[in-house]
């Protein structure tokens, strides 16, 4: 039986405050690290655990931390990416609402590893409950000597501040997040330089996702071997999966990384709520290409899904039953990306507008024959030609729908022509 470490006991409010979190060993990882380990040793431990970033990219966390130049005179920064905006995703909100100290302890450890004296949590503006709770618990940490000067007598100083976002999907992209945190419009920056070298106000900066940081205290407490014993060799550890859509038991599930998508949907989430057959499942938030029902026997990890032409992304699993109209799904997905395009680069800004119009015509039965092919040509020109991954994500998602359900688009175009 898998033991939950990120959600502790689900929906149990006892762990929301400092006393509750401490009663289950909270902050023992921090005190032992500050007492016994150097920052380098902590980085090595996280490398050894093979923790990979849970925000979507799956980059090795310890390696990311080690890119921060040691001994550099300029201030270093830790930014927590809590701007959870990928549709179908709600795991970070639930961590912050239910076990806020798991994130805070993870952040203090990460800041110690990279030598940051200030850290910010860039949190979605809509997450008002999580904001209030974190504000309260950050204050409790200051009073308990877990934040501020000379933390637990170690000589290490850290302040954590909340920065409330204001509704822009693009700010989940790490360089756009940094731009936004500097008081600019959230538009991505060119890489390189990567944030670890030159990020927030040109200082070395690490941006980590909430779930990634929440994995750090359990790694310190239980060891790298324990972490690696869960999941697969290249993608180990516990993982949060967000289940929604036409599913019987929607919700957040903590299970090993690499669980089969079919098991997740059919056993844990109970299959479809209607009892109808599953038509397709999006495995990692709407940027990820959907998988048709026969392809559900696949491991939910970064490598397996990438090899199948999709991605684990944010592990936002959206289930669609056989009643779902895929043209409507495609249109809704592209409407979203068009709305959230930051406007910086032309292929994304203009291209997505055109694709959205064409999908609307197909959906409304107003498309002419050949419109599907024109649309494919246009989105083929978006892919790989945009400044950041937003445009690529939109195309990956749309390609997945068209590839697997092309006949629905053709039927709609033909029917529309007859009806007119």
């Amino acid at each position: 039986m898998y033991e939950q470490v990120l959600l502790l006991e689900k929906r149990d409010s006892e762990y929301q405050d400092l006393a509750g979190y401490r009663s289950v060993g909270g902050y023992s990882a921090l005190s032992s690290t500050l007492r016994d380990s150097t920052p380098e040793q902590l980085i090595d431990l996280v490398k050894e655990a093979k923790l990979r970033g849970r925000g979507g990219a799956g980059f090795p966390t310890g390696l990311k931390w080690s890119f921060v130049p040691k001994g550099s005179a300029s201030a270093k920064w830790l930014l927590c990416n809590a701007d959870e905006g990928e549709p179908g995703t709600f795991k970070d909100r639930i961590i912050m609402e239910q076990t806020p100290h798991l994130l805070l302890e993870g952040m203090i450890l990460a800041a110690y590893a990279i030598g940051a004296a200030k850290a910010y949590i860039y949190i979605r503006g809509e997450y008002v409950t999580a904001i209030r709770r974190l504000e309260r618990e950050i204050q409790a940490c200051r009073q308990a000597g877990l934040l501020g000067k000379n933390i637990l007598g170690s000589g290490f100083d850290l302040d954590i501040y909340l920065h409330r976002g204001a509704g822009a999907y693009i700010c989940g992209e790490e360089t756009a997040l940094i731009e936004s945190l500097e008081g600019n419009r959230g538009q991505p920056r060119f890489k390189p330089p990567f944030p670890a070298v030159s990020g927030f106000y040109k200082g070395p900066t690490v941006v980590n996702n909430v779930e990634t940081l929440a994995c750090v205290p359990p790694i310190v407490q239980r060891g790298a071997d324990w972490f690696r014993s869960i999941g697969s060799e290249k993608c180990p550890g516990p993982k949060l999966y967000c289940l929604s859509g036409h599913v019987k038991r929607p919700g957040l599930y903590e299970l090993p990384m690499g669980i089969s998508l079919r098991e997740l949907v059919e056993q844990h989430a109970g299959g479809t709520h209607s009892g109808k057959k599953i038509k397709a499942v999006i495995p990692g938030g709407i940027s990820a290409a959907l998988l048709p029902e026969p392809a559900l026997d696949i491991a939910m990890d970064f490598d397996a899904l990438s090899a199948a032409g999709t991605m684990l992304g944010s592990a936002g699993v959206i289930v669609m039953d056989e009643s779902t109209c895929m043209v409507q799904v495609a249109h809704r997905i592209i409407e979203f990306f068009h709305h959230e395009s930051c406007g910086k680069c032309t292929p994304c800004r203009e291209g997505l507008a055109w694709v959205e119009q064409m999908l609307r015509r197909i959906k409304d039965g107003e498309a002419k024959s050949g419109e599907l092919e024109s649309m494919e040509r246009i989105y083929g020109n978006i892919e790989g030609n945009t400044f950041c991954l937003l445009g690529d994500g939109a195309v990956m998602a749309l390609r997945g729908v068209v590839k697997n359900f092309r006949h629905e688009f053709i039927e709609r175009i033909q029917q529309g022509g007859r009806a007119a």
Partner: protein, 168 residues
């Protein structure tokens, strides 16, 4: 009339960052909570306290969807229409809200009570279909729950006819 509390809050906020410019978003959140929405004067105040050109504040206020440069109703209904909610009937709920409030998405009722907005994913798909009523999430919606909720809000508004911006 400028407000000293707001000035104090914004000035304090600026000390949390390496440069005051970083505080523009939190300052706009504070100003919006204070005035109800971001008037030209409110944005000018923020610019003054943070020593920024007014246009630098305006470009932030208009880039992010949670900042409002036009008045918002006492009850702001933000219905999620993204995929997980769409699959569970968000379009039907949108039509119901538009019909019952007699406005389209993006509009405010003539009495200034209700603003209806169709929004992108609220990050609460486990309770889809979901909407945000001001700051609160209302999940597992259906036609009946929505109708009851609107009725409760109407009655509440009738009991408390004052309709100014929320006080800070």
């Amino acid at each position: 009339m400028k407000d000293q509390t707001l000035k104090q809050q914004i000035t304090e906020m600026a000390t949390r960052y390496p440069a005051a410019r970083s505080a523009v978003m939190p300052a706009l959140h504070l100003a919006q909570a204070h005035y109800g929405y971001l008037t030209q004067d409110a944005m000018a105040e923020v610019a003054e306290y943070l020593h920024l050109p007014r246009v630098a504040v305006l470009e932030i206020a208009t880039f992010y969807s949670l900042f409002h440069t036009r008045p918002v109703g006492k009850y702001h209904l933000q219905l999620c229409t993204n995929l997980s909610c769409m699959l569970l009937g968000a379009e039907r709920l949108q039509r119901q809200l538009e019909q019952q409030l007699d406005i389209r998405c993006g509009e405010t009722t003539a009495d200034g009570r209700f603003t209806l907005t169709a929004v992108e994913c609220l990050g609460a798909c486990e309770m889809a279909p979901v909407m945000q009523l001001n700051d609160d999430y209302c999940g597992h919606l259906n036609e009946q729950r929505l109708a009851e909720m609107l009725q409760t809000l109407q009655e509440e508004a009738n009991r408390k006819p004052e309709n100014g911006p929320p006080s800070s």
